[in-house]
Symmetry: C2
DNA sequence: TCAATTGCGTTATGCTATAACGTGTGTCAT
DNA sequence: ATGACACACGTTATAGCATAACGCAATTGA
């Protein structure tokens, strides 16, 4: 009774816990820490951090969620159009960047092919094999910079 | 007796604690966590994390040390030539990127003007005011990818 | 049917970071 | 000088983030 439930639609089937965590992240308009997610899900039977972290690990693996390293927090992927951004799944469009407003907490996810390319060139030149690339810009969004 | 001691050479004068922390980081060829630094400095009278974090805060402010967000660790700035990389000090050359080897722990610091420029353009277009930008590539260095 | 895999729940623990308090010491305008 | 201020420091306690290690339940597939 703990196996993933396949959906009629698409993408990897999520287990109950994974769905709950993903839903919470999707509804949020700001990044959430694992412990905040845990608190939101107490009513649904969550008791321990590991329940959240395990679900997050899978969602990260599926490319449905991103981790913001500079915040120790998580967001749902902003462009769910066709299987998303993952690296190592073949599809997707490479590295994603984030602009994080330090005032309102809003996060904009975007992709810049040229940036990707430049970093890839550097890696190639140095014989470095990239596994995962993090790009996070912290500052003030248009609304907050007013 | 706790005030910074001015050196004959240059740069902001460091206090004793700041010097100790900076020295430890400079001698290390891999990033160090605050707690690892603390352990290295027990013999020099360090007893509590705050002593390390306070020194690190200043060193970060001076641009002499970088924080690796994806590692929760710190490195000495790799290009001490003329006052370094800082943002907000006027000098320096903008955002710095890091390539982190997940096998040997070695970190390469570099700068790509074009990447900087592209991210700056995105920000301008979105009316986003960047304060600090993080770029970290994790993977395998040439030696370890062998 | 049996072994392997995967998800789950629980308890305990470890690592990372900061809050809040008080002390000492320089600076500088009065 | 003296008092106000800023800053570095030391200490204790606590908050916030993440994982180790155990065992159970269900699914899969040889």
């Amino acid at each position: 009774m703990n196996a993933p439930v396949s959906t009629p639609t698409s993408a990897p089937a999520l287990t109950k816990n994974q769905s709950l965590v993903f839903d919470v992240l999707t509804r949020s308009d700001a990044p959430m820490s694992a412990y905040t997610i845990l608190d939101r899900l107490r009513d649904h039977g969550f008791r321990a951090p590991l329940q959240v972290y395990r679900a997050l690990d899978k969602l990260l693996e599926f490319g449905m969620v991103h981790r913001l390293e500079s915040l120790n927090a998580f967001v749902a992927c902003a462009h769910p159009e066709s299987e998303c951004c993952g690296q190592g799944h073949g599809h997707g469009h490479g590295t994603v960047a984030f602009a994080i407003c330090e005032s309102c907490g809003h996060v904009s996810e975007f992709h810049d092919h040229e940036v990707d390319h430049r970093l890839g060139d550097w890696a190639k030149a140095k014989n470095f094999k990239p596994a995962k690339t993090t790009i996070e810009i912290r500052g003030l969004c248009g609304a907050c910079a007013a």
